[in-house]
């Protein structure tokens, strides 16, 4: 498919046109962004048809961007099943969210700018997905970071938004240091940026080097995919407009990390130690996200930690060696999470509040939102036969299949996380939409059509994409087989499925009991285990640790260096030299006694010294 590059290019072009065209364009140019992303979605269908027609295999092409010395720096696209899946996912979700934004952002002062950056963001993500070489991937990867920076900081007049944008960029940038060093390392070892070239030579590299390179690359993935301990930016990213959150959490930003690991999996496979690290980081992240989501009172924050948790699951699946499970969960989660966020956005739009404690009974006022939110929540909680059920099972199966010592232990924890997920989703759903409608929320209203249609579309997706996993005769081989070949067709382990469904149902039932039936009070529980509660409310003090580190270590160190520069280098070294000259002049002038015989003695000593130097020193030296 030679025209795959059009998908990102259209979006970049839309960005450029809107920025240059400014407000002179009709509707501030929003239509350009939507046309571009629709075009990308069109490219996806065309590429899919082309790919299926071609049968199997990948298609790649590349052009030279520039040359440095005799090194070609290429730009190229590769289309394989993995890229194809992501292309479709990203372009569809971005399209839906942009349409939704038409309604949500209406009346904003920088309406056009919003769509421009949206196009940039989507284009960058598409470029990440399609990139056939590490350098282009890094380029696009950074542009994704830029997009997130600009979108999170969209309302830059708000201090919190500016800080959140900065935090997101800096945090992901920390991870990118690792990614870039990893790319440099691989280039040094293999002499190429091309993924195919690197993979081809990977087998000849030593495991140690590969482990280092993959760990470095994983560091980049940790930043973008909000893995512990670089997850802190994601909850703060709520400061952007809600559709942006939906985009970031579903398909673009956070998906990039998971996609990167999947893309570079041929390298990870050869470094088993890295895979264990990936799995453990994923597990810790999943656990942290799930527990924190339980105590958050801001609806969007609950969803954010839910995303953290699910990203952990995806990484865990990758660590367990299953791309198919990770990507399938990515897709299912993308639909559900986009839906949930659009629902949350609809709530904010209609009820103008975000604290779950102040809501309740909103289903009476916004039935469509409530219904779609419920679909998303149930899907994510893993209720059969919604999509989350299928994908979560895949992850569990991947972990189970890995065997060894570590992974069975992980499985037990994982079931706990499934239970917690169902619990916090039940909490969010029930507190927001069920219960009694409060007086102050009576004015709440349902979202308009341009916002409702995308939600409906996503609800269908969230409910149905799970079935993609199944083989449908000769029409579709099933998701796993499409992605990884025949060996990865859909399968099921009845015992495991039973356990996971039980965990999910149990969690949901508990949530129902607590938040709907009020069988016992969560406040009492919080008081009893106040230490634990404080720990959770303070997000495990990770943010505090960072703040402490920045204030007490980084800034203190930099102040120290600046002071060193001023006192030692400048005042000591520079002014010191000048002072030395001045002071030595002051001292040495006393040698100028004014007494002629002193000077005469000086001449004599000088003559003797020259003679001695001439006879004794110079012959030794020469």
């Amino acid at each position: 498919m030679e025209w795959a590059w059009l998908a990102p290019a259209l979006n970049f072009a839309a960005f450029g046109l809107i920025v240059l065209g400014g407000r002179r364009l009709p509707g501030q140019g929003a239509f350009l962004a939507i046309l571009a992303i629709a075009g990308a979605f069109g490219v996806f269908w065309y590429a899919l048809a082309d790919f299926l027609g071609r049968g199997t295999g990948t298609y790649a092409f590349s052009v030279t961007w520039f040359k440095a010395g005799n090194v070609d720096v290429p730009w190229g696209m590769v289309l394989d099943p993995l890229a194809l899946v992501m292309l479709g996912l990203v372009s569809f979700i971005a399209l839906v969210i942009q349409v939704y934004s038409l309604g949500y952002m209406a009346g904003e002062e920088r309406f056009g700018w919003y769509f421009a950056v949206h196009a940039l963001f989507a284009g960058a993500m598409l470029a990440v997905v399609l990139a056939d070489n590490l350098l282009l991937l890094y380029v696009a990867w950074e542009l994704v970071g830029l997009g997130s920076y600009l979108l999170i900081g969209f309302w830059y007049e708000r201090r919190s938004a500016a800080e959140a944008a900065k935090k997101a960029f800096v945090t992901t940038r920390l991870g990118d240091v690792g990614l870039l060093i990893g790319i440099l390392l691989l280039f040094k070892l293999t002499g190429t940026f091309q993924l195919s070239g690197v993979f081809a030579q990977a087998r000849e590299l030593s495991t140690g080097v590969l482990t280092a390179a993959t760990l470095l690359i994983f560091l980049g993935a940790m930043g973008k995919s909000a893995q512990f301990p670089l997850h802190v930016w994601l909850p703060d990213a709520m400061e952007g407009p809600t559709p942006v959150s939906a985009l970031i959490h579903a398909a673009t930003m956070v998906a990039a990390g998971v996609y990167l690991v999947a893309r570079a999996f041929p390298l990870f496979e050869l470094a088993p130690a890295t895979l264990v690290v990936v799995a453990l980081v994923g597990l810790v992240t999943a656990g942290i996200g799930a527990t924190l989501a339980l105590v958050m009172t801001d609806l969007k924050r609950v969803l954010a930690y839910s995303t953290v948790s699910n990203l952990g699951l995806m990484m865990l699946a990758l660590g367990a060696g299953s791309i198919a499970a990770a990507i399938f969960h990515l897709v299912a989660h993308a639909f559900s999470k986009a839906l949930l966020f659009l629902g949350a956005g609809s709530v904010m739009h209609g009820a103008e509040r975000t604290d779950v404690r102040e809501m309740g009974g909103l289903r009476l006022r916004m039935p469509l939102t409530a219904f779609s939110f419920a679909v998303g929540a149930l899907s994510l909680a893993g209720f059969p036969p919604l999509s989350g059920f299928f994908s979560k099972d895949e992850v569990l199966l991947a972990v189970l299949g890995k065997g060894g010592v570590v992974f069975p232990a992980i499985l037990v924890v994982l079931l706990g996380i499934v239970f917690l997920s169902a619990l916090y989703l039940a909490r969010a759903l029930l507190l927001t939409f069920w219960g009694e409608l409060k007086e102050e929320n009576r004015h709440a209203h349902e979202a308009a059509g341009v916002m409702a249609v995308p939600m409906a579309l996503l609800a269908v997706g969230a409910a149905a994409v799970g079935f993609l996993a199944l083989r449908v005769g000769s029409l579709s081989p099933g998701f796993g087989a499409f992605l990884e070949g025949e060996g990865h067709a859909f399968r099921i382990n009845p015992a495991l499925t039973l356990a996971s469904v039980a965990a999910a149902l149990g969690g949901f039932a508990l949530g129902y009991a607590v938040y709907q039936r009020h069988l016992f009070s969560p406040q009492r529980l919080a008081q009893r285990y106040s230490f634990l509660h404080r720990l959770l409310v303070n997000k495990y003090y990770v943010d505090h640790a960072y703040q402490w580190g920045i204030d007490r270590v980084v800034l203190a160190f930099s102040r120290g260096v600046a002071l060193f520069d001023r006192l030692v280098v400048n005042d000591g070294g520079v002014n010191g030299t000048a002072d030395t000259v001045r002071v030595s002049g002051l001292r040495l002038r006393y040698l100028q006694s004014g007494l002629v015989y002193n000077y005469a003695l000086g001449i004599v000593v000088g003559v003797v010294a020259v003679a001695l130097f001439w006879w004794l020193v110079i012959p030794r030296v020469l």
Binding site: Q592, S593, G594, L595, V596, Y597, A600, L601, V604
Partner: protein, 102 residues
């Protein structure tokens, strides 16, 4: 047998004696005397070389005459300066003459 070396050593010795006088004496007139010693040391050297080496031109002798001439002029002038100095400072001690300093 007198050799050139004899003369050179004598000249060097006389020069250094004079030098000591210049460096150590307080009285400006005595310093002047010591300078005369040094000039004579030079002359011994010149004439020695004239006698031993330069049998054609005897440049050393001619130079020595010039040195004596200049020495005479120098002594005259220097003593005049000293008189002047003595009149203004009431002293010819060189350790009193330290106005040209920092």
């Amino acid at each position: 047998m007198i050799t050139l070396a004899h003369l050179q050593v004598l000249s060097a010795a006389l020069f250094c004696v004079g030098l000591y006088g210049v460096l150590a004496r307080r009285n400006a007139v005595l310093i002047l005397l010591a300078i005369e010693l040094m000039l004579n040391a030079v002359n011994i050297n010149l004439i020695g070389f004239a006698a031993f080496v330069d049998h054609e031109q005897f440049v050393g002798q001619v130079l020595a005459i010039f040195v004596i001439t200049v020495a005479a002029a120098e002594v005259g002038l220097a003593l005049a300066v000293l008189l002047r100095l003595y009149r203004s400072r009431a002293s010819v001690r060189v350790d009193d003459l330290n106005m040209l300093k920092w």
